[in-house]
């Protein structure tokens, strides 16, 4: 497997969009899936499917082993200390809701402060908002600066003795800013404040090592990592796994159930209620295989080349306004065009097979700050190349032509 020919591994690129080859620049929204991942799902359903962890028959044993093997694989991939630190969820959104609910129940009261940033996706703000409306907690926003970064000093300034948790994104899905998360964790540790990282945009594009980052919680969307939909991962430090109350109640997460009392299971099991996404978890092992075969560093450097080429190219077009100029930029490129609304851009680009996203990208706070209701976003995945950028650039020109009429 070679990044140069990697489009071949993704069946979707056989599609024509409006008669043109697909230029998929919407990976920050969700990535396409390589054939091995898709095949694993069908293969699993066709030959090994059964519910996991409950029955003792052969299919159940196979399914359970594969399911738990993915947990081991994720543990290694993230360099987590314990397999119990890996919790499977519906997505990053559920992962963050889980922490907000379970940690919030036990540790957040009236007047306590939750520190987030203006860059946060709604998924890392709305769950905390529930603690504000229900418990009277306070949400503080670290400000984003001109270049689209959040400086560590800004975080430092806002920490008080009431700060009960810091919840920040690893990489902004709008400005592309890569936050200094390891440093923020160090700072928080001094004050004994746990840190949740929304790693949704970080995990697919950079090496992530829980021992180096040192955070307490790290949320991942598998569907943005070349994995199946409907699956996420919450890394939770063992001390919290042991300490926090369960989230959802149901089968599999209990220890003993009596009419007057219920005790809960240990480890990750406590947080995994009901039938899990067996096939998705099993197939996600193949997504990690795919990433490992290419090497996440190679993926990152390839994506960065494409991204830098894109920045240069678009900067040459002086009606293009690029959003943010962060110190380190992840695989995201948001822009606006003079006098053309992002929705119109997206529709016209699509006519040339170029798939981007337009809107506020679930970041209304940030868009309010930027003073624009919407932006157009091209986001890069391993399958993108400079040719894709050329097509993007041409389609943008066409866009301007349509509107000059």
């Amino acid at each position: 497997m070679d990044i140069k020919n990697i489009k071949k591994e993704f069946p979707i690129f056989k599609q024509k969009i409006n008669g043109k080859p697909l230029v998929y620049l919407d990976s920050a929204n969700s990535s396409q899936k390589p054939k091995i991942v898709i095949d694993k799902i069908s293969n699993f359903y066709e030959t090994e499917f059964s519910n996991v962890g409950r029955s003792v028959h052969t299919l159940a044993v196979k399914a359970t082993n594969r399911f738990e093997a993915t947990r081991d694989k994720v543990q290694k991939y993230l360099n987590a200390k314990h397999r119990e630190e890996i919790i499977f969820t519906k997505g990053a959104t559920e992962a963050i809701n889980l922490v907000a609910t379970s940690y919030g129940k036990k540790y957040i009261d009236k007047g306590d402060e939750i520190l987030i940033t203006e860059l946060e996706h709604h998924s890392n703000y709305v769950p905390w908002n529930f603690l504000r409306t229900e418990k009277g907690a306070i949400i503080k926003f670290a400000q984003v600066n001109e270049s689209g970064d959040v400086e560590i000093e800004e975080i430092k300034k806002l920490i008080t003795s009431k700060t009960k948790i810091i919840a920040i994104t690893h990489i902004s899905n709008v400005t592309g800013a890569v936050l200094p998360i390891a440093k923020i964790v160090d700072l928080a540790k001094e004050k004994n404040i746990p840190v949740l990282i929304d790693g949704t945009q970080g995990a697919p594009h950079s090496e992530i090592n829980m021992q180096e980052i040192g955070c307490d919680f790290y949320a991942i969307s598998c569907h943005k990592m070349y994995g199946p939909n409907g699956l996420g991962i919450l890394y939770m430090k063992k001390k919290w796994v042991d300490d926090l109350p369960p989230y959802q109640g149901g089968g599999g997460m209990i220890n003993e159930v009596k009419k007057d009392d219920i005790t809960f299971a240990d480890a990750h099991t406590k947080f995994e209620a009901g039938t899990m996404q067996t096939a998705e978890v099993v197939a996600f092992a193949e997504s990690l295989n795919f990433i490992e075969k290419l090497g996440i560093k190679n993926i990152a450097s390839h994506e960065n080349k494409v991204l830098q080429y894109g920045l240069e190219k678009l900067k040459k077009n002086n009606t293009v306004n690029i959003i943010g100029d962060p110190k380190v930029r992840g695989s995201v490129l948001c822009f606006t065009l003079k006098d053309i609304h992002p929705h119109d851009i997206a529709t016209i680009l699509d006519d040339d097979g170029v798939a981007i996203r337009a809107g506020h990208h679930c970041c209304q706070i940030l868009h309010d700050k930027l003073g624009i209701p919407a932006t157009a976003r091209a986001s890069i995945g391993v399958y993108n190349d400079k040719e894709d950028i050329d097509k993007l650039s041409d389609a943008i020109k066409k866009c301007q032509k349509v509107f000059q009429n």
Partner: protein
């Protein structure tokens, strides 16, 4: 899907130079709406007189060419008309977008029909239908509010 059908000259013109923009004086009814998925916003102001006629109207809004053009065309077409006309044209319009039917109201000029019909290209772009219809829905809410 024909891009040209969607971005017809009439639409681009209304998008760039929307008619009746702002907050009209002495409005009696208003309503606003926004599309949470994309951030588009519209706020419709109506000045109704005793005879239930739309004496004046205007809109404020942010959004794509389609949504601005749609609001602009709406205000142009219904200015001076009464509420029963508004309801009929609204039905007609939504029907056109949804079911590809023609505009049936006789009291419109050919020019006006061409103008409204310019928005029918949106049928082929399902994600854009809301852009074209939001102002119309909102106008009805403004009327019903009172």
């Amino acid at each position: 899907m024909e891009l040209k059908e969607l971005y017809q000259e009439i639409i681009l013109d209304h998008g760039k130079n929307p008619r009746n923009k702002g907050k009209c004086e002495g409005y009696t009814n208003d309503a606003k709406a926004h599309n949470p998925l994309c951030g588009d916003k519209v706020h419709i102001y109506l000045k109704l007189n005793k005879d239930k006629e739309i004496e004046d109207l205007s809109f404020e809004g942010e959004g794509c060419a389609i949504s601005l053009a749609s609001a602009s065309i709406l205000t142009e077409i219904i200015k001076g008309k009464d509420l029963s006309f508004l309801k009929k044209i609204n039905d007609d319009f939504l029907n056109m977008i949804k079911n590809k039917t023609k505009i049936t109201i006789n009291s419109l000029s050919d020019d006006q029909i061409t103008t409204i019909t310019s928005l029918s290209g949106v049928q082929e772009f399902p994600m854009r239908v809301k852009c074209a219809t939001m102002a119309w829905h909102t106008c009805l809410s403004a009327v019903n509010k009172k």
